[in-house]
């Protein structure tokens, strides 16, 4: 069986959940191999984690000469590895960086690229949700090594022990790939809440929340449910929450089990980021708000009274 390369999605060696989802998908296509581009010293630790989800091999690419630059060196490393192992497919998480790595890799390997897949079948046919979720597209790569970026929450990670054999891979990074330099980097503060794109429940607030202080109402509900907190662009533009909270066309795409839109009207650009959520709930004081066209359950009312009461009931039922 051919290897399927999965680029490990991690922050400083802490493996993120979408990696396990990709390994689960990789098993359908061949033999999963994880590729960890990071500090070589963390290789063994990462291998322990990914082997539980089926990684037969774990390629460790030390990032000492890679990490200070934008995506080009990562694409070079993957290219060299792909040329050595001739994988059946390459799977990468669909984030901004993952997509750019994939883009460069597609040109280097003369291979077709599919982005933002929400499912991948055993024959590598992908499913994409497009046009703000109004269409479902089935597509296939027809040339080269299929390079597919997959959105978080596209598969339930399945534990299935693999051999997890660690192999150091020495990539040669060209000077030409080191031309966009990361001059400064300020890690985002941890909120203690689940990550937006990975969370099972997302509670969002929009312009209807009314102020930065009032976002506490949204956060209290989110915390009672163990949920992540999101925001519409209107709430972000008003400065109530940073851009990293934004859900929609120019923010994050989420596909949780439960999405709760509070004080959000449901503009097409917002829908683009949440329409594939399994269950959708809205609280809005305007019964004509378009968000109600999407919901499984909606409450016409003032979020400032409905949400605190709901939070109390959720807490009581625990």
């Amino acid at each position: 069986m051919s290897e399927v390369l999965v680029l490990v999605d991690h922050v400083d060696g802490a493996v993120k959940k979408p990696t396990y989802e990709l390994l689960t998908i990789a098993k359908r296509l061949g033999e999963p191999s994880a590729v960890f581009i990071g500090a070589a010293a963390q290789g063994a630790e990462v291998a322990e984690k990914v082997k539980a989800y089926g990684a037969e091999k774990v390629y460790v690419v030390d990032d000492a000469s890679i990490k200070g630059y934008l995506v080009a060196p990562k694409a070079e490393a993957l290219q060299q590895l792909a040329q050595q192992v001739s994988p059946a497919a390459i799977l990468i998480t669909s984030g901004a960086e993952g997509k750019e790595v994939a883009a460069r890799l597609a040109i280097k390997l003369e291979s077709g690229l599919i982005t933002d897949a929400v499912d991948v079948a055993d024959d590598a046919t992908t499913t994409q949700s497009v046009f703000a979720g109004n269409y479902t597209v089935q597509a296939k790569v027809t040339k080269g090594t299929p390079i597919i970026t997959v959105k978080p929450n596209s598969a339930a990670p399945q534990e299935a022990p693999g051999a997890g054999v660690v192999e150091e891979f020495g990539a040669t990074v060209s000077e030409g790939a080191k031309t966009a330099q990361i001059v400064a980097s300020q890690p985002r503060q941890a909120t203690g809440r689940p990550e937006l794109t990975e969370a099972a429940i997302v509670v969002s607030g929009g312009r209807g929340v009314g102020s930065e202080e009032s976002f506490a109402v949204i956060e209290a509900l989110a915390d009672s449910l163990g949920a992540a907190v999101g925001a519409s662009r209107a709430a972000v533009d008003a400065g109530w929450r940073p851009h990293s909270y934004q859900i929609g066309q120019t923010g994050k795409t989420v596909s949780p089990q439960l999405y709760m839109a509070n004080g959000i009207s449901g503009a097409i650009q917002h829908r683009a980021g949440m329409q594939t959520s399994k269950t959708i709930v809205a609280v809005n004081k305007d019964e004509e708000a378009p968000i109600f066209e999407l919901v499984d359950f909606g409450v016409v009312g003032d979020l400032h009274t409905v949400l605190p009461a709901l939070t109390e009931q959720v807490t009581q039922r625990k």
Partner: protein, 266 residues
């Protein structure tokens, strides 16, 4: 500075977008416009020149697309761009991202040969395909640095610095001209064309190029040459209408709590 701004013509997101039977997007039957996210690219291109007073600048808008795509360039001209280039060729129809980036790269190379280009400014993503990959592909093909997803752009001499909100950190990225830049909708509101701008646009140079002009073979692009194939497209069934209740004296919260409990969320 000599700046190129890449503008895509897309079907209106608020209209009824759909696919043709061959899996390509209907770009004729649905009203099109300049991809909204490329307005931010035009705005930043203009601001970059405005911030460097006293130098000579040219801003050129470039699009690849069918006949109607020229409207995207026209809008950019109305906003204040100096000149436009429209690459149009029947053979391009149905191109995937890899092929589109090839045509764009060849066009950049041709313009660069005529007069050295300093910056190619792109949007964050198109509003139809919305892959967000063309800037990286272009940088790869040109062998130029990519500084992407900028919310703030500054230049000094031949140095460019951008700020961006990455997935896990806020970063400052630096690179030397020439380079490929992409900007987000956090980079600042795009200007509206003024009446004067609309009138002036009519007299601005607008060139049309074909694949032959760029030295690209018809067989390298288009639906037949795509490295990806759309197997099927299906309109998503509208979500069946859910239950909507009016909140009266706390009834809303209770009903919602019951719904969430029934669905095992609490």
């Amino acid at each position: 500075m000599n700046i190129l701004v890449l503008v895509k013509h897309v079907p209106d997101a608020t209209a009824d977008r759909h696919f043709e039977s061959d899996g390509t997007v209907d770009r004729v039957g649905v009203d099109g416009l300049l991809s909204e996210l490329d307005e931010y690219a035009v705005e930043q291109a203009l601001q970059l020149t405005e911030k460097r007073e006293g130098e000579e600048h040219t801003v050129t808008a470039l699009t690849v697309g069918p006949e109607k795509a020229v409207d995207a360039v026209r809008k950019a001209l109305q906003m204040g761009v100096d000149q436009g280039v429209h690459v149009s060729d029947e053979a391009i129809a149905g191109s995937d991202a890899v092929a589109t980036s090839l045509v764009l790269a060849k066009a950049v190379e041709k313009l660069n040969a005529d007069r050295a280009v300093d910056i190619v400014v792109c949007g964050l993503a198109s509003t139809d395909g919305s892959m967000g990959v063309v800037p990286a592909m272009l940088a790869e093909r040109l062998g130029w640095p990519q500084v992407t997803l900028a919310s703030v752009v500054e230049t000094q001499g031949d140095q460019v610095r951008i700020k961006r909100d990455g997935d896990t950190a806020t970063e400052v990225i630096g690179a030397t001209l020439p380079l490929v830049l992409s900007v987000t909708d956090q980079s600042g509101e795009a200007r509206y064309p003024s009446f004067k701008g609309i009138m002036a646009a009519k007299k601005k140079p607008l060139e049309t190029l074909t694949l032959a002009d760029l030295g690209v073979e018809a067989g390298e692009v288009g639906l037949g040459a795509a490295w990806t194939e759309v197997v099927d497209t299906t309109a998503r069934p509208p979500r069946s209408a859910g239950e909507i209740v009016k909140d009266e004296n706390g009834s809303g919260a209770t009903a919602l709590a019951e719904f969430l409990a029934a669905k095992k969320f609490i």
